[in-house]
């Protein structure tokens, strides 16, 4: 036919057109074509994030794997489910030092807050820019019905919390005052956020409630809720979760789960408090 053979014409395409195509590729394919050239790699990293299945949370292993592949892709280093520190109303929280997003200091720990649905990723420098992974545990406070902004609540020992607000973009530190027996006991590494407060379990048999917004009276910042002794078993794993705006305490021992009889009791407490 003797028609012109377009040479490298796709390199001359406007970015939006390249993005059109990249956008239609799955995560695996995007990773693959990131090896094509520098410009492709940069373009995919900066503009195109993989498509997610519309339904969320993922309901199959493959989706879960894709999800973490996606998280790894946007953070810039590999993250596994065990690196997921917290999830809160659709947001994910990771902490790592090998991320490669723009304007990140390499080798310094950052928190990464990801929204897999809107495909956003925000990197937040750990307070004082630590190079160690110590005291990385943090919780997310986010409820889109309350606010579009999220907060990261990082536990600095048992006496202080650092709070990052995505609204102000800065970290603030609050002092929390718990009785000594709470400070000395072990706290379960899992938090839930409900209506302005973070809840965390203490193995002393208490539920700790920490208000996320600074209170005028320091003693009001944090509060101890005693769990009903009938529902506490020795040698059991304690977990806390949320269901229908109620806090659910799950105790599990060996392989069988003794679901919480105390649920209603904790709930009653909550209802009074809120």
């Amino acid at each position: 036919m003797g028609r012109r053979k377009p040479k490298s014409l796709f390199n001359n395409l406007p970015r939006v057109l390249q993005t059109e195509i990249f956008d239609k590729l799955c995560v695996k394919e995007q990773s693959n074509v990131m090896c094509v050239s520098h410009s492709w790699r940069n373009l995919i990293l900066t503009t195109t994030l993989p498509l997610m299945d519309a339904h969320f949370p993922p309901d199959s292993y493959l989706n879960l794997e894709q999800l973490f592949n996606w998280c790894s892709l946007v953070i810039g280093c590999r993250v596994m489910p065990k690196h997921l520190i917290d999830m809160c109303n659709g947001l994910f929280l990771f902490c790592c030092k090998d991320g490669r997003a723009d304007n990140i200091v390499p080798g310094v720990y950052h928190y990464f807050v990801l929204n897999p649905v809107t495909k956003q990723c925000v990197a937040v420098l750990k307070p004082v820019g630590q190079k160690s992974g110590g005291y990385s545990y943090a919780a997310l406070a986010y409820d889109h019905e309350e606010s579009w902004f999220f907060k990261i609540i990082r536990f600095q020992g048992h006496r202080h919390i650092n709070i990052f607000s995505s609204k102000t973009g800065i970290w603030t530190t609050l002092t929390i005052c718990f009785p000594e027996y709470i400070n000395e006991s072990y706290w379960v590494k899992k938090c839930v956020y409900l209506k302005g407060s973070i809840y965390r379990l203490s193995y002393s048999g208490h539920l700790l409630r920490i208000k996320v917004d600074p209170q005028e009276n320091v003693s009001k910042q944090a509060e101890v809720i005693k769990l009903h002794p009938d529902c506490l078993f020795d040698d059991s794993q304690w977990k806390i979760s949320l269901k229908d705006n109620k806090i659910l305490l799950v105790l599990s021992r060996e392989s069988k789960t003794i679901s919480s009889t105390i649920r209603s009791k904790v709930n009653i407490k909550k209802d009074e408090d809120i």
Binding site: M1, R3, K5, P6, K7, S8, L9, F10, N11, L13, L17, E20, I21, F22, D23, K24, L25, C26, V27, K28, E29, S31, N32, V33, M34, C35, V36, S37, H38, S39, W40, R41, L62, E65, Q66, N69, S72, L73, R78
Partner: protein, 176 residues
């Protein structure tokens, strides 16, 4: 009765004073072949339509130097189906079957030039499908892109990305 007649007369007079609503549009390809199309087809092509609008419909011959007479019929065919509301999966599958890789690329550019959103969207999916599950080398050839990574860089990159393949494509490698 009288009202009806007068309204008919009105519509007649409107069509007379507005030639663009009935006259065909001539699209001239880059190699000077003229394609006569209905104005409704031109409407699908935003670039053509804005040209017509700018000249108040006085100009009905539109040169499209970037599009060859080989590609233009495909574009017109797609637009015709689009107006008829007959863009089905079957039609798209048949449409794609006729096209080789080079034609897909050229049509993609044509769709962009003519600003036909639906066709562009469709073809970007076609291109994505055609490079899916292909090697990096194949993708480079397909897009005519030169590898600007050093061998070390590329090896490192591939190693770093190796995990993205695990468990996703069972045909590739048996990973345990």
């Amino acid at each position: 009765m009288a009202e009806e007649v007068s309204s008919q007369m009105n519509s007649l007079s409107i069509s007379e004073t507005n030639p663009s609503s009935s006259a065909t549009i001539s699209l001239v390809s880059g190699d000077d072949i003229v394609f006569k199309v209905e104005p409704t087809i031109a409407k699908e092509m935003e670039t053509v339509q804005s040209f017509i609008d700018e000249t108040d419909g006085k100009i009905t011959t539109i040169p499209l130097p970037n599009i060859s007479s080989h590609d233009l019929p495909y574009v017109i065919e797609y637009c015709e189906k689009s107006i008829a509301g007959k863009i089905t999966k079957e039609f798209e599958a048949e449409f794609v079957k006729k096209l080789n890789n080079e034609e897909v690329k050229e049509l993609f550019l044509a769709a962009n030039y003519l600003n036909i959103k639906k066709l562009l969207d469709f073809l970007s999916q076609v291109i994505a499908d055609r490079i899916a599950n292909k090697s990096v080398e194949y993708v480079r050839r397909y897009f005519g892109i030169e590898n600007d990574f050093t061998p070390e860089e590329e090896a490192k990159l591939r190693e770093e990305l190796a995990w993205t393949f695990t468990g996703v494509d069972p045909d590739d490698e048996d990973e345990n």
